[in-house]
Chain length 405, copies 2
Amino acid sequence: MTKGTLLFAQSGGPTAVFNSSAAGVIEEAQKQTAIERVLAARFGMDGILAENFFDATEMTPSQIETLARTPASAFGSCRFKLPACEKDESLYVKLKDIFTRHGVEIFIYNGGNDSMDTCRKIADYFAETDFPCRVVGVPKTVDNDLAETDHCPGYGSAAKYIATTIKEISLDTAVYSKGRITVCEIMGRDAGWLTAASSLSVPGAADSPDLIYIPELPFDKEKFFDDAISVYNKKKRCLVAVSEGIRDNKGRYVGAPSGSKDSFNHIQLGGVAAYLADVITTKFGIKTRAVELSLAQRAAGHLVSATDAAEARLAGRHAVRLAVQGETGKMVNYIRMSDNPYTIEMSSVDLKKVANVVRNFPLSYVNEDGTHIKSSFTDYLLPLIKGEANLPYENGLPSYFKLND
Amino acid sequence: MTKGTLLFAQSGGPTAVFNSSAAGVIEEAQKQTAIERVLAARFGMDGILAENFFDATEMTPSQIETLARTPASAFGSCRFKLPACEKDESLYVKLKDIFTRHGVEIFIYNGGNDSMDTCRKIADYFAETDFPCRVVGVPKTVDNDLAETDHCPGYGSAAKYIATTIKEISLDTAVYSKGRITVCEIMGRDAGWLTAASSLSVPGAADSPDLIYIPELPFDKEKFFDDAISVYNKKKRCLVAVSEGIRDNKGRYVGAPSGSKDSFNHIQLGGVAAYLADVITTKFGIKTRAVELSLAQRAAGHLVSATDAAEARLAGRHAVRLAVQGETGKMVNYIRMSDNPYTIEMSSVDLKKVANVVRNFPLSYVNEDGTHIKSSFTDYLLPLIKGEANLPYENGLPSYFKLND
């Protein structure tokens, strides 16, 4: 039986710096003498239960470097809902069996809200049953909605992509003397952090979006039509940023087409921009365009924030150090020490405080009318999107890591 | 009355290097002693007729540099359909009047297919009526469908953006052990050049799109469903790239929602991916996602091809030199001298040969099945997407030019 194994897994939707944290975990684990073997699960918890592992113990520094700059999830991710152990203990018992067989003494789980809940359940069960494996979570979400951390790895890069793309779309939509109402749909089921980032596209200038709507405030369709048409009549164009998760005052998603639900019982979103644009054209006869930033906003490795990438990597390293020091049931978090100069400290927080809590976008950053973001948000966001990755390109395209399988 | 004025205008949809050509025109015009004044029309032909000009005579080298790296159309563009002078001569007479009043001796028009038609009509009319103004066109289109040139300024950058983004989306869609059928919609009303660029995302590798469809071949929906589902059953995911302009064997656009037409009587497209994804989910119960690359593919200044940007700028300069040498009724074109090492020569061609001709994607580059692009296309495309712009960033975002108005 092998001892001293660190097992690492990725979980939930991808981000542009998910693999930066993976690189941090692997390089730190390789350095720690207490750790003899580094396994990465293929496809997260699914891979753990299937004992489908990639042995990263001998990954070279050059491979780790390439991994670090590759977007999405190099080892594969999952959407896995772990039942409470009071309801069904069998998976927990199976995990202990697998961990024992592979000598797993440290388990690092990298993911968002749902994953931190899984992480907490496993940590609690291991502690309660005196199973000698430490469990540490590494946060990850473009949505920036995890509690107890200044921000989440993945958010800065998505925000940088969104602000840049909205800036470029703003230039594109301004080329004709008479334009359209352009509605851009941005990710964010419950939290407006990503949509708010569009406000930064041209800090303080007139051609950031004219109107911005986040899910934290009820969306009044009639008022929206009035506001958009009023801007359009004045400027002959109007640029709108809406979160995919906007809801009316009864909590119903705006323009949700089918109401189908994903494996976490979340309603599948999308199509809000298309819906609003369609209504404006049909009802008011104004030319519109719907733009969904879609997958690129979380997958754009070519436009990561260097700050975000570096922090995500450090978060991975910090998780390993915490576990080696004997910590368990914790999530790595960022504590901001100052805005200017921007400095953060890596710390840790009880997973209990994080699991199943959504950190909403603070309404203090929203204007009185609920239609735009105040410039005070810039102080928070600007440091997070700073720095360019300067990727190596091969034949005109970014060069990324790929498992040979 | 001023003499020696060069008038420049941008026309048609924006590209990421439209303004590179503008920079080339302005810097070359400033150098030519025969040219005393450089005017840029605001909003293309609309601005000319309204005598709405920006005086670029004194633009500084630093302003021109910023202009060159800014996507979209800094001076504004138009969608202007010039009637044949046999039908209505009034606009032609008005143009001569305006040109005379402003001393315009050189007119440079930068645009795509429809704009080169306008350019030709004006050049012909001026020649027939012995009006002493030379007219030279500069090509511009992300679609790459202008005749008589190896490729068009704007195409290489859009192709680089598309290949990069499809590569990143491909990574994103591969993160779960069981994925979806993802349908990506790419610009291209009549020509498949842009959609074909998606094939380059991972040259020769398995994770470029599984299926690629261009408008030059009739689209057989039933065969598509069979092919996509067959890939899905094998790989548990399938990535499809479709051109917005795909049509069935009767020439009807696939999934065209409303059939509304633009000012050139072109049917407004969009929604093909959403339509195909929806049918697959409804009819076959397979999870899908529709992704429309939308405006970002032509506006992404942060990801231009350095080759494309440099050539677009030279094209602008070449147009001015041709006009100064007395040429008129011409369009600047690129002649490829060799693939490896890649070299082109700037030359010129009669506008008559260009106007209203669509250069289709060569079917010799398409596989027998009509579902993918052959690797031989790489030799053509690779040089066009090479080189990165290395933009200056300010506060984490690209820094672009903006007229103060």
